[in-house]
Amino acid sequence: MSNSVIQVIDGFLANIGRTVLALFESIGQLVIFAALAVSHIFRPPFYLGSFGRQLMHIGFFSLPVVGLTALFTGGALALQIYSGGARFSAEAVVPSVVAIAMVRELGPVLGGLMVAGRVSASIAAELGTMRVTEQIDALTTLSTNPMKYLVAPRLLAATLVMPILVFIGDTIGIMGGFLVGTNRLGFNGATYLQNTWNFLEADDIISGLIKAAVFGFIVALLGCYNGYHSGRGAMGVGRATTNAVVSASVLILASNYILTEMFF
């Protein structure tokens, strides 16, 4: 009787132990992968062509997604803050709060999540396909280090281009708030802009852009890691893609909290 209870508890604890160990193991592997990849960014040869293509692919082609996300978010934010502010007769805070929320939080986080969906997935699918069709092995046999040729340019490009992308997104988001504020909420255009400028501090912008760089790194890292270690066959690539998007998104949100605490 008590024996079977002990067995159940034992099995339960063993399960927890296994899961925790597996979690730590994969975190460890990810950290090693990241360290190795970063070290390759700084050691020649450098693949500039590949880096340039990734800048286009990750940065330029993400502009529509990030821009639209920011535009609608900025607009919605203006409405919400207006209706919240109205309860304290503080409708006038709309421009400054929209700007601060956009620049410090929503621009980087939503931009990061959208890019995670787009870029992590495509990197994981591309590298995963290369893995299962032995293209990564072929690179190695052609004396080309796949970490250097495939992973390093993507990591560097994403980390550098994400702040630019988010900066543009921030601007568009503030413009979304401006459009709604002036057209729907009766703000005067000049005052709206004046208020935006007056209350926005350099720190707000810089902290947001640092977040963006970290998120860019996360997006590329998890895309590369999952693709690089893709299982065999189409199913392996599918799983790698899903894992890349999910883990990148969760890691963006978690690191966002940590970064926000640091800048607080």
């Binding site: 190695t140 052609l142 004396s143 080309t144």
Partner: protein, 248 residues
């Protein structure tokens, strides 16, 4: 010279190689035969260090594949992968001359392209293929592009994983001749995996047959018909019945 002693490799419960011994002298051509799934491709990948064996020793000119400078080690190799493994984002000519476009001694694009076109011609492909993407080619054409890539940098050691699978008989003949030429004229050391007995006879100096994780029989090509080994006899005569089970 390639020397493999007592090589073991399992994937989980799947025991693939369990004590393989192979020796290839410099400038010789070894053909590896054996049933589907017996670990022939795994053997080549172990030699290249793409798969880490569980135990056993591998030496290529006295050097272990996973020790020391990987890139310098791999510089002496050319490899045709069973599935081609062409880079699908690069046009054919850049695939073929990939190695020539990397590293310290890289060639100019024009020179590399000229060499690519010349290698393509050797595997029976027209120059017009050079600017196409691998996905636009037929399976057999992709295979031949892979072959051209393997020989482009004129390596000392060449591995061909099923070079003639999926080719028509004439093209198979062309490729057999090419492999033979590479060994005889360039003095390369070659290991070829094939299921095609006419290729075996055309290409091999020595033959090794892998069965159930070990080398079942090995010897000079001249001896394969008189080996007296029931496994080898069944295999080269394509008999459905014999010591090798047909469900594996």
């Amino acid at each position: 010279m390639i020397s493999i002693k007592n090589l073991h490799k399992s994937f989980g419960d799947n025991v693939v190689l369990s004590g393989v011994n192979v020796h290839v002298s410099a400038g010789h051509s070894l053909v590896v035969i054996g049933g589907s799934g017996t670990g022939k491709s795994v053997l080549l990948k172990c030699i290249l260090g793409l798969i880490t064996p569980d135990s056993g020793t591998i030496e290529v000119n006295g050097i272990n594949p996973n020790s020391g400078n990987r890139e310098a080690f791999l510089d002496q190799f050319g490899m045709l992968f069973q599935g081609g493994a062409l880079f699908d984002s690069l046009p054919v000519w850049q695939n073929v001359s990939f190695r020539l476009l990397q590293g310290k001694h890289r060639l100019s694009k024009d020179d590399a392209r000229d060499i690519a076109v010349e290698k393509l011609r050797r595997v029976g492909l027209k120059a017009s293929v050079a600017d196409q993407l691998p996905a636009e080619l037929s399976g057999g054409m992709q295979k031949r592009v892979g072959l051209a890539r393997a020989i482009a940098a004129e390596p000392e050691i060449i591995f061909f994983d099923e070079p003639t699978t999926g080719l028509d008989p004439i093209m198979s003949g062309v490729i057999n001749e090419l492999v033979r030429e590479i060994v005889v004229e360039m003095g390369a050391t070659a290991i070829t995996i094939t299921h095609d007995m006419s290729s075996v006879r055309a290409i091999a100096d020595e033959v090794a047959m892998i069965h159930e994780g070990v080398v079942q029989w090995t010897g000079p090509i001249g001896n394969i018909d008189s080996s007296g080994d029931p496994y080898l006899d069944q295999f080269i005569n394509a008999r459905p019945h014999g010591p090798i089970e047909s469900v594996r």
